[in-house]
């Protein structure tokens, strides 16, 4: 009885020693080292500043191959929803033609751009989404938005019955983390990447029954 017990203890001890030898820094130490490496490897260039590396709760919780724990995920979504600014005068819809132009443009906010004004920015939409199906050059990181309004039964975006989908879409554009804590989608309103009118125009592209997207 004594021998196997001692044997097990011995094996455990050797195992622990070996593990101690084989492992380098702990995951937490590596996290700290990586933070330091990231902070020291970049510099300001043009309009882009080194402090753009700073992360809020959502970004730091979504910076690994693991999902955040449920409590953190809930907190990220709640904070994102709270960040949403609703459109002035409850006016959600703009011009789908201007929206299409924005959707096509991937411009803005790189160190080779010269202005932080959202007017200079595009929406990058086709980089990741199918939208008007006549545009064959579209990305697949996000879901297809072809017939976005039609599929959701939107015939009159101003009708009270469509308010939930209209508001949902506004939130998604303003701060997509309100519905998915680690969403890949940029927070166009929250980070001032597009202004209110530009967001209205993209809303119209997606929801206006006359938009080519809903034919």
């Amino acid at each position: 009885m004594n021998i196997p017990y001692r044997l097990i203890l011995g094996i455990a001890l050797v195992g622990a020693l070996l593990a101690g030898c084989a492992t380098g820094p702990s995951p937490a130490e590596l996290d700290a080292q990586a933070q330091k490496v990231i902070k020291t490897s970049f510099r300001d260039q043009g309009i882009v500043k080194a402090n753009w590396l700073d992360q809020d709760l959502g970004l730091s919780a979504c910076s690994s191959d693991k999902e955040p724990d449920p409590a953190t995920a809930d907190r990220i979504m709640a904070e994102a929803l709270k960040s949403v600014k609703w459109p002035t005068g409850g006016q959600y819809m703009g011009d789908w033609r201007a929206g299409e132009k924005l959707a096509q443009s991937g411009r803005g906010m790189t160190w080779t751009d010269t202005s932080l004004d959202p007017k200079e920015n595009g929406g990058n939409c086709y980089n990741c989404h199918q939208i008007d199906n006549k545009e064959i050059s579209y990305g697949t990181i996000g879901p297809s938005l072809w017939n976005y309004g039609k599929n959701r039964g939107v015939t009159d975006p101003a009708a009270p019955a469509t308010a939930p989908i209209v508001q949902y879409t506004w939130v998604k554009l303003w701060n997509a983390k309100a519905y998915s804590p680690c969403s890949n989608m940029p927070r166009f309103g929250h980070k001032n990447l597009l202004n209110e009118q530009q967001l209205r125009d993209i809303m119209a592209l997606l929801l206006d029954p006359k938009s080519p997207v809903n034919q």
């Binding site: 590596l30 490897s41 080194a50 753009w52 064959i136 050059s137 990305g139 990181i141 940029p186 990447l193």
Partner: protein, 265 residues
């Protein structure tokens, strides 16, 4: 040979005008096929080989004694084992960083000056040509980065963390575009760099000649422009984060056949 390439490039430029009349899809298929014939990267390989053998710099020496990890002067096979740890500098280095070390120690160039030089200019253009030639000398070989040194393993772990690090105006990380199979931006296929993406894809394709801007792009420039599009601040040349990302992608690409220098759109 250089004449043939020039004719090819001219034909390509002509074709871009003609193809406007065809469907976009046809044009793209045709364009991809044309890219397979005659890669202008060959010119940069020839320049790199010449630079390797030429006596240059304040010390008027060649790079023929440069140790890229396989022993002094051994070029073949070096590319597919980089980044790796080097005892003489005490750190993990990628190909371009290592070439600058050799240019400093053997030829007497100022390493910090080279690192500050913009891509495509002066000695930085020479580093790119040298990297293109060294990479070409491992064409057809398979990636097999060493991970026996603790600093190599740490470099991998830091690279992995940098790969998933989200920031900038658009909240992007490398992983936003490169962590799933079969994704695209517009029509551009995106390699999944969290694993071996396949022979000649991703890490196994750079340096590469970019037809769209007529430039030879090293891995350092490839990463630099990824970060630009990611809306991140400017990564220093051969900064620790870029080398760690190289280690992460290179180790993940274990077994992938190198086609570098490749040709890209």
């Amino acid at each position: 040979m250089s004449k043939q390439i020039l004719v090819g490039v001219a034909a390509l430029a002509l074709c871009a005008g003609v193809s406007a009349q065809k469907s976009t899809a046809d044009g793209i298929a045709e364009y991809r096929k044309m890219l397979e014939d005659g890669n202008p990267a060959e010119l940069f390989e020839a320049k790199g080989e010449e630079l390797w053998k030429q006596k240059r710099g304040p010390k008027n020496a060649s790079l023929e004694a440069c140790n890229l990890g396989q022993g002094p002067g051994v070029v073949k096979g070096a590319f597919v084992t980089l980044p790796r740890y080097f005892a003489d500098t005490g750190r993990v280095q990628d190909l371009e960083d290592r070439l600058v070390t050799c240019m400093a120690t053997l030829q007497g160039f100022d390493a910090a000056e080279i690192a500050k030089t913009p891509f495509g200019r002066g000695e930085m253009a020479n580093v790119t040509a040298l990297a293109t030639w060294v990479a070409g000398m491992s064409r057809g070989l398979r990636f097999n980065l060493p991970q026996s040194n603790p600093l190599e393993r740490t470099s991998y772990e830091i690279g992995k963390r940098a790969f998933f690090y989200r920031a900038g105006s658009h909240d992007f990380s490398c992983a936003s575009c490169h962590s799933e199979d079969g994704k695209r931006i517009r029509l551009q296929d995106l390699p999944n760099l969290t694993k071996n993406p396949g022979d000649g894809i991703g890490f196994a394709a750079w340096p590469a000649y970019r037809v769209s801007n007529g430039q030879m792009w090293s891995m350092q420039l490839r990463l630099n422009d990824c970060y630009r599009q990611q809306r991140f601040p400017y990564p220093g040349f051969a900064s620790e984060v870029t080398i760690a990302l190289g280690t992460y992608m290179g180790v993940n690409a274990k077994g992938a056949e190198s086609i570098a220098p490749a040709i890209k759109r």
